[in-house]
Symmetry: C2
Subunit: 337 residues, 2 copies
Amino acid sequence: MATISDVAKKANVSKATVSRVLNGVPVREENRQKVLSAIRALDYQPNAQARSLTLGRTDVVGVLVPDMDGPFYGAILEGCQQALWSHGLYMIVRSTHHVKGSEPNLVKLLWEKRVDGLIIFTPREIKEKPMQALVKDLVTNNFPLVVADGELDSLSISGVWIDNFEGAYKATRHLIDLNHPNIGILLGPEDSPESKLRLNGYKRALKDHHLPVNPNLVAIAGDYRSESAEKVLPQLVKAGATAIFACSDELAYGVMESCKKQGIKIPQDLSLIGYDDVPFARLLTPKLTTVAQPLTQLGQVAAGKIARMINGTEREITQITLPTKLVVRETSSVYHG
Amino acid sequence: MATISDVAKKANVSKATVSRVLNGVPVREENRQKVLSAIRALDYQPNAQARSLTLGRTDVVGVLVPDMDGPFYGAILEGCQQALWSHGLYMIVRSTHHVKGSEPNLVKLLWEKRVDGLIIFTPREIKEKPMQALVKDLVTNNFPLVVADGELDSLSISGVWIDNFEGAYKATRHLIDLNHPNIGILLGPEDSPESKLRLNGYKRALKDHHLPVNPNLVAIAGDYRSESAEKVLPQLVKAGATAIFACSDELAYGVMESCKKQGIKIPQDLSLIGYDDVPFARLLTPKLTTVAQPLTQLGQVAAGKIARMINGTEREITQITLPTKLVVRETSSVYHG
DNA sequence: CTGAAAGCGCTAACAG
DNA sequence: CTGTTAGCGCTTTCAG
């Protein structure tokens, strides 16, 4: 592996001169050419490690996600990747594999790897004690950090979210526009921040359109699995729901399955809207109306922010909320008294 | 940011001693403790860049994939990640975003980043000229390289594949076991290596069971999109297919949609088997019988191999083929004359 | 515009 | 067991 000294020797100039042409600093054209051809002849490639050591930066950002399979983080990472690369940055990815409490350690390791910045995509863990401490530490050292989709409480960190309130509001309003009198909501985890926000969006849409909020029409599945939906669906049916807003496509799928068994026709007897717009949503029969989350964009925005923090273009702490998109397909239709 | 010198000063020892306790080299217990507490007091973290520079390794491996959204590479990357991490290695990921001809450049950049090894997951591009040259170059410099799922021709590179021949054989035999006399195959891209292998597996299964290979029962969709399946399905139907082996779940989905429109009942009138076992396969109605590819395992095996090449445990070039798994669900059933 | 020299933080001989 | 020293490959003053 050729080094800068080899090139210098071959071109009969000093290392400094080689370094200059490498970095676009003006050099006499004649020398420039000599250096260039020496580089080619030796197939020289700068050593990024040495460069990092002197420059004090690595051009790498660390990204922490809970998983990479599944329908979410792949798209998010793809977005990150694109944005980072357009800024000349590389991406080291670590998945926690949903292991509770692993984050602080991983962040530390990433940080030891001297990444120039960190994007954390592990919403659940971010509010745990050790994580908070670590994050506070990073922030006070004003280390470039972006937290995506996490609960930040009072911490002043740059963050990016997809707007859960707005998504739920949109879904509910769609059903209201379709004339539905009894709109139920099927929530995932009971106490998660996104559940709260979505419930609020749902309630707000109802109120804004002068519809009552019926507590019997609020059901909690406990998680996002389709099986859980099947368990609580009866509650909603009993309460007379004419339409259901399920907080994930998985849940919506559970509703569809359950309805099929009970002979409830969707959308004739019951309108249904999901959340996420995962790939299978458009493949279900009937095709699922749902709320699409801009996952790739989430990644891009987070990465763009970190890039600007790193190159010093932007030092302020910003908190950005991204809008969702309603995707109307076949499971939602007009209610006929 | 504290350095090793700071620690040395604080502990009244030399940098070398600090380095020793850091690396587990025996040191007088008293000194060890002094160093340890100095480290704690200063919140010292070793600088990985400096370490890399002296050691000549980075503990990072580069991974090149065509995309990260989609149902495949996320799972593969998760597998890589896990295996890599268990060897103390980090993972830099680059997605080509399916841009043709971008690989050589990306590999070069990754390599300049001085990764200790490289895993390439871009099957299509691997046989292009510039890529071949680059790969050959890496191999002759015996740089740790693993190519996954790619066509290697005569190159002697370590590779990992999922067994396309065997997968197709399994699928076809399943249909044969179900007593089907006329089994059609719906291929994706015409000339891709995996299409050829799957076609061979299909033919072989037929021959092994003394069934004729009817060319009219071999259809080519041209790609893996469901729309393409709908176009060529008539050919298969006309040829009297009683069962179809579609080479992707997408294609199978297209067949299902098309059949629905034409009143062909699956599996009563036509048995169907897909390939991939993407998440939506089990959500279709009826649930799709399919061939599952061990994606996570593919990642793990590739990463494990690279790790062993890096740490010198294993220098040989190996080429590993992973078996698929038949997942029988509801779209395949016994043929009744 | 160019070269010499120092230094980024760490490890690895080499003496002691 | 420990300290001194050199050096990994690069950038950056500082003179010239």
